[in-house]
Symmetry: C2
Subunit: 254 residues, 2 copies
DNA sequence: CTTGACTCTAACGTTACGTAATAGCTTAAC
DNA sequence: GTTAAGCTATTACGTAACGTTAGAGTCAAG
């Protein structure tokens, strides 16, 4: 009967010798016997076992569980597989969602990055600075927008402007207290208008860009988490309110 | 300016305190300062950073790389995201393939398990034993096939039958030497016929079951690896040859 | 002043091996 | 016979991202 050395077996199964050592260590796959000098010797039986092990390993089943499966004849393989199927399916769901998010993020980075930076800038500057920054931004718009915006952020640091921050805070608090209202509620829209005006004080925020910002609130974790901090569902609430605002209140803008 | 303790920040971000400790340890997110007694104190700035970190962490980007992204302004985020997008896409591919394999495996386990066991039995029994086993199998077919087959395997162990094994080996060698031939090549089909006869010596292998076995050769890692050992592509080759055989040579069977 | 809730550091545990490092064995060639 | 190539063994640290005690100091409230 043919016996296999570690190397032979490893080549057959296309795994490393170390892996076989490991499986021996943890008792998952012991060699049929040891040679006089302690060399591991495997038989067909082990080859078969190994194939099963690798089969299950491919399905991302932890080695401990694999040991169960191949050792314990009473182990319910079907149940285990069913379970892992669910796990994998969920995993796939998550990753697919991630792909979407990444795509969106990349789009933001490519096209709308300025918008994010606007927010970053808009938050934390004195009005004079903001106006100047804005002017610069408008001047160079389209050519080096990204680099410039980032550059300015780094240069200016975060020398916050008190009044602005407080106003911002108040608006967020107000909106937070209104979560649950219908987005087209007049009271909500009033605050949104205030928000919109606030932004337009130092920035030229078109209807389009405002709508885009609204979407960012729910699609970008960084914004979402920032607003969820105030109240659960706030991010989505604001976004919906902004949508309504942009759809209806165009007259205010011009 | 509001400062956050570890716990506060951890609650805001819905992560563990340990994680914040960890991020501090590895320098990914240092607190703004330490209190007199060494307590970690975080500011808004850190909150923002943390949000970014968690954002990237969600996309399964390793912490080291995240550190790059948020520290090094020259780091090409777009490229990094593009890269990870590819990674994730590939992952998803693999997992989806796994789902298919798992489904098939479960089907095999539920309905066709006997087939796998047939192969296991068929390989390694003396003819008398095999015949007896077969008789038993036929008798109890359909009620406890799975348990019985397993039971028999365990009972009989692997007391191999020399001639049978050798014949088996020779067939495999022959087929291995023919990989690359068209599956409907007469020489191939002759060997397949021999294979089929060999199986029918001790087992009642219908055209259907034989075709099913052929599929197993390529769909079940355990079989695939077994045959790939002889020659790369052998498993698929045999399967194709069996398909041709089952499609054309029905007259031989009856 | 004593709880209870919170904080710190230090350090081991987790998963499935990779990667040396050190040393003995086998075998074919010279 | 020796030597070099190639195999084998054991031991043990490294990896990623924290979880989980464990021991000990700190803070606010009753």
């Amino acid at each position: 009967m043919k016996v296999y050395s570690v190397r032979e077996l490893s080549k057959l199964a296309k795994i490393s010798v170390r892996t076989l050592h490991h499986y021996d260590d943890i008792g998952l796959l012991k060699p049929a016997k040891r040679s006089e000098k302690g060399y591991r010797l495997y038989h067909q039986e082990q080859l078969l076992l190994l194939q099963q092990i690798l089969f299950y390993r491919e399905m991302a089943i932890p080695l401990k569980e694999i040991a169960q499966i191949i050792n314990d004849p009473d182990f319910d393989v079907l149940k285990a597989l069913e379970f892992h199927k669910g796990e994998i399916a969920r995993q796939i769901q998550r990753w697919e969602q991630l792909l979407v998010t990444i795509d969106k993020t990349m789009l933001e980075l490519k096209n709308n990055k300025a918008m994010i930076n606007d927010e970053a800038l808009y938050r934390g500057f004195k009005p004079e600075e903001a106006k100047q920054v804005r002017q610069e931004a408008i001047d160079k718009w389209g050519e080096e927008e990204m680099e410039n915006a980032e550059q300015r952020i780094r240069e200016k640091g975060n020398t916050g402007w008190k009044n602005h921050q407080e106003n911002d805070e108040e608006i967020n608090q107000l909106l937070a207290s209104m979560v649950g209202f219908k987005p087209d509620d007049v009271r909500v829209q009033k605050v949104i208008l205030r928000h919109f005006k606030q932004m337009n004080l130092y920035y030229e925020v078109s209807k389009e860009r405002y709508r885009g910002l609204g979407k960012l609130y729910v699609e970008d974790e960084r914004f979402t988490q920032y607003y969820e901090k105030y109240k659960e569902g706030l991010a989505r609430f604001i976004q919906q309110a902004i949508e309504v605002f942009c759809d209806n209140d165009l007259k205010v803008i011009t």
